[in-house]
């Protein structure tokens, strides 16, 4: 089945030693032209801001007073010394692990559920996917109302079922605030990851399943030894997306908890925001923390890629 891509075949020895032909040069110029808009976009909205953040991170740069000169590496030490730095790191990691495990397990379950085409799959697939059409901020506001002790429609049913005997404080304790937010994120993203995994599932050829069945494999064995291994690349993609997204969590906590109660749900990005706009008003320190987060993300993603690729071979 392995077909090497053509590009690697003729690459090494056959490159012409002379200059490129005019036709080829024209084609390369056209290529540059096609890429230019994207390149310009990336330059203006990604490269320049990152360089600016780099500049800020080594400067005494206040929100209101602007740049007041170099101060490296004071911003980096101050960012790490912040009383909320380690709690925020710990909380972000905890949140990421919880979210990723729950989301991927649920998404895989849903994908398996709607994999076969039956009368109801259309309805089910759509209803699982609908929350993904909602912006995260809108979804958060929706859940804010759902969790508000003053207007929550969940109160009456929970009481009727005997689960609660009074108004439920969904966001009032560190534990409940975390799980309430996880519930929102699972509701919002499970359908999206289900879709990604569904595509992976449908790429597994039916013959493989048939062969497994002929060999006498039961449903559990088929799932463990056929579905999971062949789904590995889809699962890898989902894991990387989910881990990166969760490490950068901001909107949902900003809207639901503002980092409370007692700073128990301050994520690392929220700490960046707080440093820049909530009292400290210190863009330099916030930029330094952003760069630390960026570096951590690069390392984490490199490790993930290596780990997942290693397993595939």
């Amino acid at each position: 089945v392995t077909v090497a891509p053509p590009a690697t075949r003729d690459a090494p020895a056959r490159r012409p030693p002379v200059r490129r032909s005019p036709a080829r040069r024209a084609r390369s110029r056209a290529g540059w032209a096609y890429a230019a808009p994207t390149a310009a976009f990336v330059l203006v909205f990604f490269v320049l801001p990152i360089l600016l953040v780099g500049r800020m991170s080594v400067s005494d740069w206040s929100l209101f007073a602007g740049n007041r000169g170099w101060n490296a590496p004071a911003n980096f030490t101050a960012a790490v010394d912040d009383r909320l730095f380690w709690p925020a790191v710990w909380f972000t990691v905890k949140y990421t692990v919880v979210t990723t495990v729950i989301l991927l397990c649920l998404a895989l379950g849903l994908a398996l559920l709607v994999q076969e085409s039956t009368r109801w799959t259309g309805v089910l697939r759509t209803s699982f996917l609908v929350p993904s059409a909602l912006g995260l901020a809108s979804a958060s506001l929706l859940f804010y109302a759902l969790y508000s002790p003053q207007s929550s429609p969940l109160d009456a049913p929970l009481r009727a079922l005997g689960i609660a005997d009074g108004p439920v404080s969904f966001l009032g304790t560190p534990g409940s605030a975390l799980w309430s937010t996880v519930a929102l994120i699972v509701w919002r993203f499970a359908g999206f990851y289900m879709l990604l995994l569904l595509v992976g599932l449908q790429n597994i050829p039916a013959e493989v399943y048939e062969a497994a069945r002929l060999d006498g494999a039961g449903p559990v064995q088929t799932f463990r030894h056929v579905t999971l291994p062949l789904l590995k690349s889809s699962l890898a993609l989902c894991t990387i997306l989910c881990v990166t997204g969760s490490l950068l969590a901001f909107d949902q906590f900003y809207i639901l908890t503002k980092g409370g109660p007692d700073n128990s749900t301050v994520t690392i990005v929220q700490l960046v925001y707080n440093m820049a706009f909530q009292g400290q008003n210190d863009l330099g320190r916030a930029a330094a923390l952003s760069l630390i987060v960026l570096a951590a993300l690069l390392v984490i993603n490199a490790v993930q890629f290596r780990g997942l690729r290693g397993k595939e071979d």
């Binding site: 602007g66 207007s151 908890t257 007692d262 909530q278 009292g279 008003n281």
Partner: protein, 436 residues
């Protein structure tokens, strides 16, 4: 091989070009120095020559800001263009504009942030302008003091927002309380809340507060301390005095109400977003409340208004709301002053603000025709002039009190929900931030 080298060189050159461009950009951002001085002599009226002025304010003051701007535009050749910014985005928006030199001609600021913003040089100096006003000494002193930095004045009151006690007269009647008399002491406040709670009506509670909201309780609890004769900050605004006897009495009162189940559920997670909602729905008996919301609350509830009391009496209020000034970036200082000058005039104060049930910012206009019509408005106006009313001034106010997860939020949560023994430590944490 040659092409790949030249490509490498090219990308290095490109990167260097990017850096240069960036450095140039950065230089652009930091070259603004100080306010533009207005040319010519300063007059009380300023200039009304048909200029277009921009004005920013935050959403909670939308009602008053719109009324003021409409009235000004109707009677002047200058035209003010109003931009309303969501409350939570206001600081970052102003900060970004200040950095790039794009502040509007006029902008309002939460009065507790004003000391920080004047120190950062966001406002133009209007000491001389204010001096030309014949009623300068009648303008609300709390706001003027907050807008004074190194003996120069930068800010005038835009809209005053005072904290007063609101109570639900219907619930008071039902609970056997006098509907014409709000609580006169801290203990009466507690008794009234407990009495309403004792009605046992499902969904109705004695009182409410923002248990995860620093700003809400600065606004409503500080006056209880001031009315008792204590201070919350030292004169320099760098030391917290929130561990005094009266302060402890205030915390104990709320703790008792919490333990008695007399505080509406959700107080523990209330970040301030729905802090005022329950009272407007008629579900709360008595609570300290923003006076600017009287017209709104009176639509759904028969509201009684009384001043915030201290431990054994006294009255006080937090003179909050927004101050307004001319920005450092404005090139139309004389025209912008025309708006500010009009803003403090009787036309604006009585004709617009008082007519909309808002508090006037001049002591000589407290007894006006609108206050005479509604004793509740008169109560609010009167407490603004109480000697125990304050606008606290501290450069790091936002970080110490209003920011989510501030040391003040930690302090008050421990006092009401947690371990009250941590007061000394929590108070020291507030002082730490104030002194930074």
């Amino acid at each position: 091989v040659r092409t790949s080298i030249s490509r490498g060189v090219r990308s290095v050159v490109a990167a260097a070009a990017g850096m240069t461009l960036l450095a140039a950009l950065a230089a652009c951002g930091s070259d603004d120095d100080g306010p533009t001085s207005s040319a010519g002599s300063v007059t009380a009226e300023g200039v009304d020559d048909g200029a277009e002025l921009t004005l920013w304010t935050r959403a909670p003051l939308e009602l008053q800001a719109k009324a003021l701007v409409d009235a000004y535009n109707a009677g002047h050749r200058n035209q003010v263009k109003l931009t309303i910014v969501p409350n939570d985005d206001y600081v970052s928006k102003v900060g970004a504009a200040a950095g790039s030199g794009d502040l509007p001609d006029l902008f309002a600021a939460d009065i507790v942030y004003v000391p920080n913003w004047t120190k950062a040089g966001l406002f133009a100096d209007i000491t001389e302008h204010i001096g030309t006003l014949p009623y300068a000494d009648k303008i609300n002193q709390g706001h003027l003091a907050a807008g004074t930095y190194q003996d120069h004045r930068y800010v005038l009151p835009f809209v005053l927002d005072l904290s007063v006690v609101f109570y639900n007269k219907a619930l008071y009647r039902e609970a056997g309380l006098d509907p014409e008399k709000g609580p006169a002491t801290l203990d009466e406040f507690k008794q009234h809340a407990l009495a309403v709670q004792k009605l046992g009506r499902p969904g109705t509670y004695g009182t409410y507060f923002g248990g995860n909201c620093g700003g809400c309780n600065v606004f409503t609890w500080f006056p209880m301390i001031w009315a008792s004769g204590e201070e919350v900050l030292d004169a320099a605004g760098t030391r917290s005095l929130l561990d005094g006897a009266a302060a402890q009495q205030v915390y104990a009162t709320w703790r008792e109400l919490q333990n008695a189940g007399a505080i509406a559920p959700g107080a523990r997670d209330e970040t301030g977003a729905t802090w005022v909602a329950a009272f407007q729905e008629g579900k709360v008996g008595v609570m300290p409340y923003p006076a600017t919301l009287l017209p709104t609350a009176a639509k759904t509830v028969d509201v009684g208004v009384s001043p915030i009391p201290g431990v054994t009496g006294g009255t006080s209020t937090f003179i909050g709301g927004d101050g307004v000034g001319i920005s450092k970036d404005s090139r139309k200082n004389a025209q912008a002053w025309n708006f500010l000058s009009w803003l403090t005039s009787e036309d604006a104060q009585v004709g617009v603000l008082a007519a909309n049930d808002s508090t006037v910012a001049r002591t000589d206009l407290v007894d006006n025709r609108y206050a005479a019509q509604d004793p509740r408005v008169a109560t609010v106006n009167k407490v603004a002039a109480s000697p125990q009313s304050r606008t606290p001034v501290a450069v790091n106010f936002q970080q110490a009190f209003n920011a989510p997860g501030s040391p003040w939020v930690t302090l008050l949560r421990n006092q009401v929900f947690g371990d009250p023994a941590s007061l000394a430590k929590d108070n020291a944490a507030v002082t730490d931030v104030l002194g930074q």
